[in-house]
């Protein structure tokens, strides 16, 4: 394993660390590395780093490694970790913040999962609501797996669960404006 020179790494990570602290409202130094978060995390089995290890990377300023991890994308935002942390660290919020920053920096380890959220929001922006059929079709087409889950389609249509046309709200201007206003304030959507 490569040896990390900690002082240089710390200096390099400062800028992003400051962003994480500000945007998440979490001081990583509060974490005492007990691992309770990771012990209960329902997705830990699939992660490349446990949530505690992400906290450790942040504590040491090893931000690139944290931002490039799959963990931050696999996190299901279930809040189990934050609910049980003995130091009241809101880890779920740290995960969320790292994802947002990773996306801003264009370093997205799980492109497909990110794609889903993009399409989701696009649907919201265009229609005011999510058009689930459109979302699933789009996701599977853009995600290069056009037949995935396709077998649910017919029965869903039959059960009245998917409508072929998007639900839109009459005055979608208001929602479009919300997106525009968030962009104006620096939101990268």
């Amino acid at each position: 394993m490569e040896r990390i020179e900690l002082t240089a790494a710390w200096a390099k990570g400062q800028e992003v660390l400051a962003e994480v602290t500000k945007e998440s409202g979490v001081r990583a130094s509060k974490c005492y590395q007990c691992g309770k978060c990771s012990a209960g995390c329902p997705v830990a089995f699939a992660m490349d780093k446990t949530p505690r290890e992400i906290m450790r990377l942040v504590q040491l300023g090893l931000m690139d490694e944290a931002l490039q991890s799959h963990t931050i994308w696999l996190c299901a935002s279930c809040d189990t970790c934050s609910t049980r942390c003995p130091r009241e660290v809101d880890i779920a919020r740290v995960m969320e913040t790292l994802r947002i920053i990773a996306k801003r920096k264009g370093s997205v380890a799980e492109k497909k999962m990110d794609l889903f959220h993009d399409l989701f929001l696009k649907s919201v922006e265009n229609n005011g609501r999510v058009h689930e059929l459109g979302l699933i079709l789009g996701f599977n087409i853009y995600g290069m797996q056009p037949l995935k889950d396709a077998h649910f389609g017919p029965s869903m249509l039959l059960k009245g669960k998917l409508s072929p046309l998007p639900h839109t709200i009459k005055d979608n201007g208001e929602v479009k404006k919300i997106f525009a206003n968030v962009r104006k304030r620096g939101g990268k959507l």
């Binding site: 005492y32 007990c34 691992g35 309770k36 012990a39 209960g40």
Partner: protein
């Protein structure tokens, strides 16, 4: 002409790093009344004190200002110093230029120096008004009270009694012994707890100078050091201790079963019971809440079978008041209520237990006769998981502090699992292993190396039942991987917390406690067994988590303090008390209810006015009770009350010095 000497201390660099001490000394020379001013590196050290004494003589100084640290620590030092230099101790003032100046203004030397100069100026103005005060004396009652009969209380009582003083031990429970009686073996030597505790219990019970007052509580405390008047409630035991021979027939025949507190409710006791076989006094008590006779008026079996007619249903609580010279508080600890850990299923899963339950499972007279068995089905567990720091070091659900003893007792438990159960596994989930202490770390090393307990660094997140197993989810943080154990039993090392009624007792006796309700020592380093209240001392886990050796050491230390006090016939009292100017006192009585120490009453005086004798009421301050708090002085509308050493004139002189 008054001649004030000013002495500026550097406190090493504690003060001088932020304050220009030479300059302050120089500035002080121009203050009215100052005849001499100098600075020195350590004023409280021997050479510093000599410097002051020499200056008193050579410069003919008649009052002194020392500008240094908080008076809390060194005011007595400097008072002694000027006294041996020939001045009255109260002709001293201290200016606190450390806590009030250098420590809070480390970055601005220029302005800190100005502030220090101001503080000295005020002290000089005040000391100019100081008067010589004379201490009076109060008698000391040569009898000590120990509250709590755990190992700490027992040790303190024995040590005090052995010097020839009389000690009363008040214990809330029917027997003395405390938690140590519940513990099976003791780390780090694994000697049996009862074997080392029982002889001490017997010694204290048989000691001619000790009175055990069990099943009793403190009801009221009045008075002050040397003369505490304590009212004790002796709860009705329903058994006449003199008549009872401790034969136990009543216990055998009593039909009512109640879960035993001593056995952590894993075993039953009777409604008439002694908490454990080695109890002292080894005579039963009736638990009136559960006894049939008291609930329904029927039964009375115990009374019928008692050969000495000792059972007495008509007994009532008895209040006795006794005077003591000193009090040792040794009320011990409780265990954290771990039911807040829903994720561990405590209370829901029978085989998730606490360390104290586990002690009882280990104990030969416990519910399983010393065989480690699961409470749910009595099976011998193969995989036992221990979780440390439950309720400790947990701001979210528990206490922020470390409970200090649980790392060691968990190592003890893991060792005993491996020793007692063949082919067993003992897993210990830990965050840190904290085993400083003589022979302690070696003990821990043996637990892993010799006994093969598996230590896993990580805090458990969840426990759930699957079939008859308990599934434990943790992370091995050293591997960075989630791990799971199919356990047969889980033992939680729960935090040591203050007694539920700790605050109440402290308020009653009149001493302070911290945010966790542990009792506060007078100084964390230099006065660890004293409280801020003279004559009240601390021993054992009531002051903070402690193991047996520490509790015993602290108890002996407290005993020495008590003996020191009781060895005197009388002690000097602080003369800084309130004084009444009877000429202007209107006798309105406003001050009487204001005094928190009930030191003021009204008395009648005779006066001659225009040749006639008239009598009128005026306030009267009891010099033994007044603590010099000053509350009365602000309540008095006629300004007839003045606190000596902090008179209105003195305070105003300080204000003037600063503002004019």
């Amino acid at each position: 002409m008054k001649r004030v000497g000013v002495f500026i201390c550097h406190c090493g660099t504690n003060i001088s790093a932020a304050v220009d001490c030479e300059k302050v000394a120089e500035n002080a020379k121009s203050f009215p009344g100052v005849a001499y001013s100098t600075d020195y590196k350590y004023m409280c050290a021997e050479p510093g004190q000599e410097l002051i004494k020499k200056a008193i003589k050579e410069q003919k100084l008649d009052r002194i200002v020392v500008a240094s640290c908080s008076p809390r620590m060194h005011e007595p030092t400097f008072r002694r110093c000027i006294e041996s230099g020939g001045l009255n101790a109260y002709l001293l003032e201290m200016a606190n230029i450390r806590e009030h100046c250098s420590w809070v203004h480390p970055d601005d030397k220029e302005r800190a120096t100005i502030k220090a100069t101001d503080l000295v100026k005020m002290a000089v103005a005040k000391v100019m008004q100081n008067e010589a005060l004379v201490r009076s004396t109060i008698p000391i009652t040569k009898r000590a009270l120990v509250i709590g009969g755990g190992i700490a209380g027992i040790q303190a009582a024995l040590d005090i009694a052995n010097t020839g003083h009389i000690v009363d031990v008040v214990e809330k429970e029917p027997s003395i012994g405390g938690r140590m009686a519940q513990v099976d073996k003791t780390f780090p030597t694994l000697d049996c707890s009862a074997c080392i505790l029982t002889p001490k219990m017997v010694d204290v019970a048989n000691h001619p100078n000790v009175n055990l007052i069990t099943y009793s509580e403190i009801e009221k405390v009045e008075g002050y050091v040397g003369n505490f008047d304590v009212t004790i409630r002796k709860k009705a035991r329903s058994v006449d201790l003199k008549a009872c021979t401790g034969c136990g027939t009543c216990i055998q025949k009593c039909p009512t079963k109640v879960p035993s507190e001593f056995e952590m409710e894993m075993m039953d006791r009777k409604a008439i019971y002694t908490p454990f076989p080695q109890a002292i006094p080894n005579k039963p008590v009736i638990d009136r809440e559960n006894c049939r006779y008291f609930k329904s008026g029927k039964c009375g079996v115990c009374q019928k079978v008692c050969p000495t007619n000792a059972v007495d249903f008509t007994q009532e609580d008895e209040l006795v008041t006794e005077r003591y010279g000193a009090i040792v508080v040794a009320t011990g600890f409780d265990l954290f209520d771990e039911s807040v850990y829903g994720e561990y299923g405590y209370g829901k899963y029978k085989d998730v237990i606490t360390g104290l339950h586990f002690e009882r499972l280990l104990n030969a007279s416990g519910p399983t006769m010393g065989k480690i068995k699961r409470p749910s089905d009595g099976k011998i567990p193969q995989n036992v998981v221990f979780i440390k720091c439950v309720g400790s070091r947990d701001e979210a659900k528990g206490k922020a502090y470390c409970s200090k003893t649980c790392c060691m007792y968990t190592a003890k438990h893991a060792t005993l699992v491996r020793e007692k159960i063949k082919d067993s596994n003992a897993y210990v989930f830990y965050m840190d292993v904290r085993t400083p202490g003589k022979g302690y770390d070696e003990f821990y090393t043996r637990t892993t190396d010799q006994y093969g307990a598996k230590y896993i660094r990580g805090r458990v997140s969840k426990i759930y039942e699957k079939g008859d197993k308990l599934i434990v989810w943790g992370e091995d943080t050293l591997l960075g991987r989630p791990v799971e154990i199919e356990a047969d039993m889980v033992v939680l090392a729960t935090a040591m917390v203050a007694k539920a009624d700790a605050a109440k007792l402290a308020q009653m006796v009149g001493f302070s406690y911290d945010q966790n309700h542990f009792y506060t020592e007078a100084h964390p380093k230099l006065a660890p067994v004293e409280t801020h209240t003279a004559g009240v001392f601390l021993a054992g886990a009531c002051q903070g988590p402690k193991d047996i050796p520490e509790s015993v050491a602290q108890a002996s230390a407290a005993a020495v303090k008590v003996c020191g006090l009781l060895s005197k016939e009388e002690m000097p009292t602080e003369p800084i008390i309130s004084a009444v100017n009877e000429a202007i006192c209107s006798g309105c009585g406003m001050c009487v209810p204001v005094c928190p120490y009930t030191a003021i009453d009204l008395k009648v005086i005779q006066e001659r006015i225009h040749g006639k004798t008239v009598s009128r009421k005026v306030a009267n301050v009891n010099s033994g009770l007044c603590q010099g708090c000053g509350a009365c002085t602000v309540a008095c509308r006629s300004a007839a009350l003045n606190l000596k050493h902090f008179t209105n004139e003195q305070i105003l002189a300080e204000v003037d010095a600063l503002c004019l």
